[in-house]
Symmetry: C2
């Protein structure tokens, strides 16, 4: 990749090229930030002239908005898959919380902070942010409603509980660019504590990382305490 001496033009299907551009931009958004999505930068990543990016996205802001939407949607699908065959709501929620801490989630938090700030100046991005907030809220709310219907959760208003959980997660993620470490456990686990209380679950019901991807489950020795 990135063979700069290449002069040969590679002509691609417009839809494929467009998707390629959006994917590259989404990757840059997650790794370095939305303001690093420039025509020159994305063109360089794809070994293509900046003018081509302009060809597909007449205004650069459109690309930024699209890149955020794609990145946020992908992350949501990773955290809260819409389809989870054979998984109980409690299990899915626990898995969700297990993924909302650690370095991996910091990148997502950074992206949200980035988007929420930049949307102050970029109307198109602001629309996308609102759209994704709705998507995240909707996905979590659906899970809570399902849990209530199944009798696993018990709450007066699942929609309110949904927002409360997201507010706490936003608050915890707000510091992703400054201090990640040395936070008291009572703070780190605020979201879980809140969810367990609001959903009338026994303490600890959401705590142990019941994860279907145990490759990064190493390390935390606290998994032994059954409380």
């Amino acid at each position: 990749m990135s063979s700069r001496v290449q002069r040969k033009r590679i002509r691609k299907d417009p839809a494929a090229r467009r998707a390629e551009i959006v994917d590259a931009a989404a990757a840059v958004a997650l790794a370095e930030g939305l303001e690093c999505i420039t025509l020159r930068r994305i063109g360089e990543d794809l070994d293509v002239r900046p003018g081509l990016i302009s060809h597909y996205f007449p205004s650069a802001e459109e690309l930024v908005a699209e890149a955020f939407g794609t990145a946020a949607r992908n992350e949501l699908d990773g955290l809260l898959p819409a389809a989870a065959p054979g998984r109980r709501p409690t299990e899915r929620l626990a898995r969700f919380f297990a993924h909302t801490t650690g370095e991996a989630y910091d990148a997502i938090s950074r992206l949200w902070i980035n988007a929420r700030h930049l949307s102050r100046y970029r109307p198109l991005l602001r629309d996308r942010v609102a759209e994704q907030e709705g998507a995240w809220r909707g996905r979590l709310a659906a899970l809570l409603h399902e849990g209530v219907a199944d009798g696993e959760f018990r709450t007066a208003d699942p929609d309110v509980t949904t927002i409360q959980i997201l507010v706490v997660l936003d608050g915890l993620g707000a510091h992703a660019n400054t201090d990640t470490g040395n936070r008291p456990t009572a703070v780190t686990r605020m979201a879980i504590t809140l969810a367990e209380r609001e959903l009338a679950l026994p303490a600890g019901a959401l705590a142990p990382p019941v994860d279907d991807a145990p490759e990064d489950a190493a390390g935390d020795g606290a998994a032994t305490d059954g409380a």
Copy 2:
């Protein structure tokens, strides 16, 4: 002001000029955002050539960091005055919460989002953000400790409670650039609810805006329910 035809130089005391520059930058930061602090912009506001700003702040990043620090410190002093003669901790905390909702606080939330994001790229700003986070945390923690000492609050660890309150406020403020309105009361009052629970206060103890500046107390008819 801003008489552009003015050619006459006004020579000021360096310390005063420097303060003037920082104040102007802090105002821009609050009203329009930290990235709007440019040499040109501040120079224009003060009717002075951009080079002069460079003279006082060899690197523009220094000015941005200083502006944020000043703005954040001023806002903290407005929200949680260090000295509050004759005010009980409960009263002061209630006043604090009364000020952490509404349009006025949105500007502060925006500034924090702005700073937290921009600190990703600006080390000097990152230091200032950390410093101000410490200042806000310290100020609130001091209030909680005082309340515990006076017997008004009862909590296992005031420092943990402090962080929990701030996390919720950060979460609520995260959306300052998108959706401000139509949030359920159970969400809007999350910080108060948390504080009352964690400090073992009766429900509603922190709710009514016991405010010494009642000029904006109009509107919310819910102030009549004593519960």
